[in-house]
């Protein structure tokens, strides 16, 4: 350059002066050569997300600021955008943005230094959105079926979680049919697959309950289950959902929205099913009650029959007594009608030789021999002749 030149104005010519582009290009080369990719610590300020998905913001400390850009292809991996005022570590390449003549950091990675960082921020944001729509209301939680016959399982088809669930259901409640809806459970596409699986179970007839989940993993691995979309798919499920994501300590949005949260996939399978041994015990009790109840009923009937017989016997005795009186009266009347009694009153019976009763004058021709029966014997007699 012409710094040592005597004539300060010699370079102030079309030939000697640099163009703006030349300076910024040269500055960019110098900056990129002199400042390798590095971590910068600072406070986020003036954050803007452009239509393109790129993020623009500045990092500041008390005395300076540095313009930053984080392109969509990089920021896609982050759960949330940083908020203004947030303390962050940014890893990036310092460069010069020639169009604006600005020193700029092209950010490749961004970490919040605050508790939980961006992950926590994203979690809280989605949770607030779900709560606003009432999806976290405990009153929404549906009871689990007592004796599930069809259980859908939304999980990775080749992971321990599924093996555990199948083993528990086989042991506890083989009455059930397991319908596995395989999905990825982490990484690109997992979110969409799980949402599609929830749509698919709506078409399974007679479904009682759904288990969704996966085994333990890093915070990033479990992140799919903190997606607001997945949480909304869980909330929209037509049957109760049991969520089992990660371990006891990892509570995801999916867990919060589900009707029941199980600590592990095995626990989810146990929550979805009764224990066959217990049900058989219960059936034995039901059988015993059935027997006792019907025996009691038969006893009762027996007692009633006895009481009825007693009553019947009572009425029979009465009846016999009444009949006896009636018989006595009748026999008295019979006695009164006896012919001997009549004869005692002075009447006599006349009979011919053939023992026929003679009742009319015509039956007594003159000279007829006949017998007269009087009260104490017979008398021979003959009709007087003409």
């Amino acid at each position: 350059m012409g710094a040592g030149s005597v004539d300060l104005f010699a370079a102030a010519s079309a030939e000697g002066a640099w163009t703006v582009g030349e300076v910024t290009r040269r500055a960019r080369a110098v900056v990129e050569a002199g400042l390798p990719p590095l971590w910068v610590r600072g406070e986020v300020s003036g954050f803007k997300r452009w239509q393109s998905g790129h993020w623009y913001f500045a990092l500041r400390d008390r005395t300076a600021q540095l313009r930053c850009v984080m392109f969509a292809r990089e920021n896609r991996r982050l759960p949330a955008a940083p908020a203004d005022g947030m303390q962050v570590f940014a890893f990036g390449r310092p460069t010069v943005w020639e169009e604006k003549g600005e020193l700029r950091l092209t950010v490749l990675e961004l970490l919040s230094t605050e508790a939980g960082g961006l992950w926590q921020l994203a979690f809280e944001k989605a949770k607030a959105a779900l709560a606003k729509d009432g999806l976290l209301d405990p009153a929404r939680k549906r009871p689990l079926p007592g004796y599930a016959q069809r259980i859908a399982v939304i999980t990775s088809p080749d992971a321990a979680a599924l093996t555990d669930i199948v083993a528990v259901v086989e042991r506890r409640w083989p009455v059930a049919e397991l319908i596995v809806v395989p999905t990825r459970v982490q990484g690109d596409g997992a979110e969409a697959e799980i949402c599609a699986a929830f749509r698919a179970i709506g078409r399974i007839a007679g479904l009682d309950v759904v288990i969704v989940g996966r085994g333990g993993g890093s915070k990033e691995d479990l992140w799919t289950f903190n997606s607001e979309r997945v949480a909304r798919a869980v909330a929209a499920a037509p049957v109760p959902v049991i969520s089992a994501v990660g371990h006891e300590t990892d509570v995801t949005l999916c867990d919060l929205v589900a009707d029941y949260r199980a600590a592990t996939p095995s626990a989810a399978a146990a929550a979805a099913t009764p224990d066959r041994a217990e049900v058989l015990d219960h059936l034995a009790q039901v059988g015993a009650r059935l027997g006792r109840a019907v025996a009691g009923r038969v006893d009762l009937a027996g007692q009633r029959v006895e009481r009825s017989l007693d009553r019947l016997a009572g009425t029979m005795t009465l009846r016999v007594e009444r009949h006896r009186h009636r018989l006595a009266a009748l026999s008295g009347r019979l006695d009164a009608l006896s012919p001997l009694k009549i004869l005692e009153r002075g009447y006599a019976l006349a009979r011919d030789a053939e023992d026929r009763l003679l009742k009319r004058v015509a039956q007594f021709p003159p000279g007829l021999a006949f017998r007269l029966r009087v009260s104490d014997g017979e008398v021979r007699a003959r009709v007087a002749g003409p």
Partner: protein
């Protein structure tokens, strides 16, 4: 996709519920003997059926393949 057919009716829960109802009615001792015995027979039959279902069952695992539903 071809959805699996609905499970054979009645469901296990329905069968169990009917059993409980039979026991309750029998225990109330309000029925005449003939009705009681009929209910008892039904109860025994249902008990046998659910027991059989429980002891004979073997868990079935089906998989809905990926192409069975839209992604």
């Amino acid at each position: 996709m071809s959805p699996p057919p609905p499970p054979a009716s009645p469901t296990f829960a329905e069968q169990l519920e009917r059993l409980e109802e039979i026991v309750r009615r029998l225990e109330s001792q309000e029925l005449d003997l003939d009705e009681s015995l009929k209910l008892f027979e039904e109860g025994i039959e249902r008990l046998r059926a659910v027991r059989e279902r429980l002891t004979a069952a073997e868990a079935k695992v089906k998989q809905i393949l990926g192409e069975d539903f839209d992604r």
